[in-house]
Amino acid sequence: MAELAAWLRDPSPKSRLQARLGQGYMGWLRFRRNPLAMIGLLIVMLLLVVAALAPVLAPHDPITQDLRMRLLPPLTEGHILGTDDFGRDILSRLIMGSRITLFIIAMVAVTAPLFGMLVGTVAGYFGGLVDEVLMRLTDIFLAFPKLILALALVAVLGPGMENAVLAIALTSWPPYARVARAETLTVRNSDYIAAVRLQGAGAGRIILGHVMPMCLPSVIIRVTLDMAGVILIAAGLGFLGLGVQPPMPEWGAMISAGRKYLFEQWWVATMPGLAIFIVSLGFNLLGDGLRDVLDPRNSGK
């Protein structure tokens, strides 16, 4: 262990891999100093583990109905978080639902930022007409509230998990394009870009190899901070019955189903609400911590 740490801290790495890992290790040491970020990381890791082991962890089948066990309060024997209106164990549904939440997050987190970054860097690097056209397009998407736009898209595409993901991704790329463009504008005129241009590099090479790495940290931070919003939109779509379809245990749809019993059987809606709250909080804390580590303005010294 000590040997590994020394290898990672080596100020003169012997290979590209060691240099990369060493950088990562230094970032991790910085990250570790922030206790709130560690809590965020813990929550996100927990979500990952729960999602991975969901079938093993869930004490009951999340879909099988049992009307005799309907609306049991929390702490009932065998149902720690109680049961819903069809007698399904809420804990089991939350655990299985984490997979759906994670799937949506993962899909959105991969597609939207990539697309947004591409639009933003291209617009920022070329400027002029290209910038005008791409940014006005971005503005059009930004002009609508995210949820409304997602609703409209799902209404056209039809309800379902894949379409929900597509709708969320299509509505969440514009902020990334903005962030990437702003970053590109500051980077574009720097000496290191001038230097690589002077070496005869083409626009594609400069954008992919030199500009994007500088935008990546701000975009990653933005993604983690946005994850909470993505979960909420997915939940919102589920709540309105346009996202994941029953009987799949999606957290938003679960709140929607519990709405009818909110005053008498509060736990049916509250438990999935708590789950959304905790996971959103986790991503937010993680994003704040990552900002301290990744922000190019802080790195170096």
Partner: protein, 276 residues
Amino acid sequence: MTLLSVQNLRVSFDTEAGLVEAVRGVSFSLGRERLGIVGESGSGKTQTGRAVLRLIRPPGRIEADRMDFDGQNLMTASEREMRALRGRRIAMVMQDPKYSLNPVMKVGAQLMEGLRQRDRLGRAEAHAKAVAALDAVQIRDPERVMEAYPHELSGGMGQRVMIAMMLIPDPDLLIADEPTSALDVTVQAEVLSILDGLVRTRGMGLIFISHDLRLVARFCDRVLVMFKGRVVEELAARDLMQARHPYTQGLLNCLPRIGGPRVPLPALDRNAEWAR
């Protein structure tokens, strides 16, 4: 009379890469005179200057056997007492005025802010004092500069404004950290002469921090030469040419001279032994 006395000052940073000792046991004392601190980057000269004002942020740590300013112990002073000292009795001029002036506030407002809040002066009085301060740093058109934003000033002008601002409360000690390295040579000489004149006429102490021995020699009475966090030589500025320490000699000799021979410049010998 001793204004500032520092004994065995140490500044260290506990970073991810391990403990970094920036200043390792520096001692000096200063009267109402001009002291130069010279060294390469990383020699600890800047941290020494900042440590006097206790401007080292965590994870940095300051330790010293003694650090007294005009009879007050700076090591045990509360943060509140330090705030009362900073600016009012000990002022600091930094390298680049671009980062020291508030970009969205007019110069005049920045100059008057301290006067109005700290000294509770009226508007007209503060204005008059601010104009006088700009006048003292030989700004020809102070009224126009008062109405300007920092980005509308040239580097030399900006640095003069900084000096004017620092000198308004009439501090006893001025710490100037590379005050002219961002400026052109012609402007550099001008700004330094102004600074020099003010320090002399007001009888302040000056700590002038620079990597350029020539400047320090010209504008100081005494010079500390720092290397790797330690003082390797202390001597009167006029004796600089007779410096005995090979490191000081090296710093002097490595500068190109107009009309000098076309041979490689002597490389600076950085013998780690000297820093022990």
